[in-house]
């Protein structure tokens, strides 16, 4: 894995330049849209990605998720997912 793919709690992810996230009522899911394609997101992926606005860092996102879902210890899951999302270009980080 290259340095650019390393995600920490300080990384600030936002949805990739050529992707769009939206809720689709017909599918009861968040989807990622891109040229001629679509990824249907499962619940946790959707909840993480909709918080990738370019404002919150991974630490903030984790804290918000833990609060919203009354859960703990999500940090590594969030980091792992953001790394995957980065490889897929679903998100960019600053």
């Amino acid at each position: 894995m290259t340095a650019a793919m390393t995600v920490t709690t300080a990384s600030v992810p936002k949805i990739g330049r050529h992707f769009r996230i939206q809720w689709e009522e017909a599918q009861k899911a968040y989807v990622l849209l891109y040229p001629e394609g679509m990824v249907k997101l499962n619940q946790s992926a959707g909840e993480i990605l909709k918080r990738c606005t370019g404002e919150a860092n991974v630490g903030d996102i984790t804290a918000d998720l833990e609060k919203t879902f009354n859960a703990q210890g999500l940090q590594q899951d969030v980091i792992n997912f953001v790394e995957l999302a980065l490889q897929q270009k679903w998100v960019e980080t600053t």
């Binding site: 330049r17 939206q22 017909a26 599918q27 989807v31 849209l33 040229p35 001629e36 394609g37 679509m38």
Partner: protein, 385 residues
């Protein structure tokens, strides 16, 4: 009885997913004359195009069912003066909007208007990497224009798919086609081997590449992937004539794709209007909901119940749903037959014969003059494929 029928209909509606992909073929008119165009050979007989308002109705009704990807295609969609209005309405409704264009008619003024309308992405087609072949295959002088349009698309910040249909006459140029894609900074490249429908079926023997050509092109594409990583995403679509099992056509009949033709016919794929004995519904007189869930045209080949042998007892029937109905009709003369690409089909030898001919360079079928797509040729040929 009525209750039961209604309950059954409700259950079907629950198991049939939404038409996620809406392909709006807004016109059959086109300034290009590509020899492999998938439009029906008799397109010139279907000239009565839907109005702006009628397209608005289609967009609205399909979106209500859950359509989310919307492609504006044709013919050349830029030939519709109201394209910006259609894109704006699709954007307002929440679609991801794609424009599939040859580039002809896409100037600064219109690309700005399309951006303003909310267009998300542009797919630009090239016929080859060289001016000479691009212009020969499309029977137009459009190569330089396409290069300028590619720059225009990037200058406005669009993601770009470069599409190049691949066949015997350009498959040996794969490397320079990839270089061209890299130069114009395409994010995605579709090297789509010709599928033999419409005009491509008319010109099939002239277009089918040899096995050696195909293997070389695939090898070069793989080498490019290894060398350049995922800067460009490459799709290499293999011609199904070289397979022993059919493709899962359209990802299943009436499963996710809904095509609306310029004259308002609703189809489960771009080419299904050629099939005999099937009446496809018209968006002028039916709602998209009725079309998708209730019409005979869409229900006929859903699932596996319609199949006959060798499909009906085949352990792979859920994998490919018997392949393509249009190919079954064109090659086996029976839309209910197994796709003859499958080596279990009693008509598979017809595919094998075409493939064998393609290995012999310069055979009489192969050197016949190509027939270009045009309204005059369409009326002369006067046949669906």
């Amino acid at each position: 009885m009525t209750d039961l029928a209604e309950a059954q209909a409700a259950q079907d509606a629950a198991t049939i997913g939404p038409p996620l992909w809406l392909l709006a073929e807004v016109t059959y008119r086109c300034p290009l004359h590509c020899v492999y165009c998938y439009n029906p050979v008799d397109f010139a007989k279907h000239e009565a195009e839907l109005s702006t308002e009628e397209w608005f109705k289609v967009l609205r009704e399909a979106r209500e069912l859950g359509s989310v990807q919307c492609g504006f295609s044709g013919g050349e969609p830029m030939l519709r003066d109201d394209l910006e209005l259609l894109v704006a309405e699709a954007h307002r409704l929440g679609y991801y909007t794609n424009l599939l264009t040859s580039g002809v008619g896409l100037n600064e003024k219109r690309i700005d208007a399309l951006k303003e309308a909310g267009l998300d992405h542009i797919q630009l087609s090239f016929q080859d990497s060289s001016r000479e072949m691009n212009d020969f295959l499309s029977s137009t002088r459009t190569f330089d224009l396409k290069r300028r349009v590619a720059d225009l698309i990037k200058s406005r910040g669009y993601p770009m798919v470069m599409n190049c249909t691949i066949h015997r006459h350009n498959i040996d140029h794969i490397e320079s086609i990839l270089q061209l894609a890299d130069e114009i900074e395409a994010e995605y490249v579709e090297l789509a081997n010709t599928q033999y429908y419409g005009w491509a079926q008319v010109n099939r023997d002239q277009l089918l590449p040899s096995r050696e050509q195909l293997e070389r092109a695939e090898r070069i594409t793989n080498e490019w992937r290894e060398k350049h990583g995922n800067k460009m995403k490459l799709f290499f679509v293999v011609p199904d004539y070289y397979e022993n099992r059919p493709k899962k056509c359209m990802n299943g009949w009436g499963n996710i794709f809904l095509t609306i033709t310029p004259d308002g016919k609703a189809l489960p794929c771009h080419t299904a209007r050629m099939l005999p004995g099937l009446e496809f519904p018209d968006v002028r007189t039916s709602s998209v909901r009725d079309i998708w869930y209730e019409s005979e045209g869409f229900n006929r080949y859903r699932g596996t119940g319609w199949m006959k042998e060798p499909c009906s007892s085949c352990p792979e029937k859920e994998k490919d749903y018997g392949g393509c109905r249009c190919q079954a009709y064109m090659v086996a003369n029976d839309p209910n037959a197994a796709d003859p690409v499958c080596d279990k089909s009693p008509f598979h030898h017809k595919i094998v014969e075409a493939v064998e001919r393609a290995q012999i360079a310069g055979n009489p079928q192969q050197v016949k003059p190509l027939i270009y797509r045009g309204p005059k040729e369409s009326l002369q040929l006067d046949r669906p494929f």
